[in-house]
Symmetry: D2
Subunit: 147 residues, 4 copies
């Protein structure tokens, strides 16, 4: 429970965490935001039986969603909004049930128009998925004048 | 409702549709299998408010999940099971709410070990996402002796 | 020899073919542009011993280069210049020596900022590589007032 | 000149460097292997005018080739041969002429059949390209009985 601020403006942190908590798709999947730092964000989920694929392991779609979301929030940590243009994932290990899964998103470069990021999804020390994402910067987040 | 058989063995078709209907993650997301043919499969969903991302459009994770699943089922239509190794998606247009979205998966080549597939996700005529996927063949489906 | 115009403005066609013929990297590799149509371009090469990788087949880098170039020229056929942002390739079959290899590039969608394309590389009927590329539109080609 | 051994068996190192030095495609492009360590390899090139694309910068194909090769050699450093199945690259910054470019390849996971790797291409400190690659393991390198 609770999300850690690893060093960004407190108003921006509150904005990002609030947005994630209100997000219907995360609620549906049980995904929450566990940490945000400069150019970095972490999403977490405890895998459930209703995340299953036909092979009886966790559906890759859950990991793809977390990877995409972790990168999107890592971009938000820089005060920007980026929409996903491209998302490429290697599925490295099968994902077990009932375990805490963490997606770490990192911005590699935030250019004027294009933002490049990566995400690694872990179960403990075990690397489950490795993602590279490209985003188009649409706007800045106006967090300074909120609330 | 109902899934179309576009030309595969009826027992294999029943196996694939039955497996998809029993699949917890599809049930959670509202995704169903709408058609299966030789080297081809189609998943459908009507987008809902609980598929939303923070920008107020449908979360890309839903499309990534459908693309992955459409390819996986296209592989099943050939009587094989493949696990996703690599999945790369271009997000071409934002996805609206309350619309029927269809992911079409096609096998490009089924080799001895590696299977290559692609998926295109549409809302009507509009291309939303284009995916390339690589799969590792783990086994054949033993559908002939079922039931 | 010679490049086919499959239906674009003759001045634009001459501009694209001339640019490709003057291009040092294509000359080094022996790559030429064999056809250009609306949203479409084809690059060709006859594979040589100096394209070899350590396994004694053609180095994947040649196919990656042709795929990237075929998409770039397909974008040019629409009168636009796009720089590669993302390029994702499945290597489907090994590439033999001494054969004519053709990369077909197609634009999937040309948006205001982002352009999405795909490329398939063939040796005859055999699919060697399948690529998805994302490009950022930098400018239009000013071919109407040229020489 | 010369290639650094960062900690692998000397016979394997000699085998890898010898193979790279004899490789026609590297010779054509001016690419050499500058370092090999456990699960790691580095390719280098000084960019030349004949690496140019139509925009007057270095053709992305050179970077795609180096990224692919750096990952392939990183796999060789573990005594294995892998063929490229999938290669996905973000082109982050344009590549200048006359500069030393280094591609660093790293193995993320070497499974029984599939090997996952990544590569980052730099000009000095500047990240030019970020690649994720998937490889199929075909054999082990029999370096112990060579020479």
């Amino acid at each position: 429970m609770g999300s850690k601020n690893l060093g960004i403006d407190e108003r921006l942190f509150d904005h990002i965490v609030g947005t994630a908590e209100d997000m219907p798709f995360y609620t549906l999947l049980g995904v929450s935001i566990s940490a945000v730092g400069p150019g970095y964000a972490e999403l977490s989920v405890t895998t459930r039986r209703d995340h299953a694929n036909p092979l009886g392991t966790v559906h890759g779609g859950l990991l793809l969603t977390m990877a995409d979301g972790a990168m999107g929030n890592a971009i938000r940590s820089l005060g920007m909004i980026g929409v996903t243009v491209d998302c490429s994932t290697a599925m490295i290990s099968p994902t077990p049930f009932g375990e805490k899964i963490v997606a770490q998103g990192r911005v590699l470069k935030a250019g004027r128009n294009m933002i490049f990021a990566e995400s690694k999804v872990f179960a403990g020390e075990k690397l489950l998925a490795d993602t590279r994402g490209t985003f188009y910067k649409t706007s800045d987040i106006d967090y300074r004048n909120q609330g």
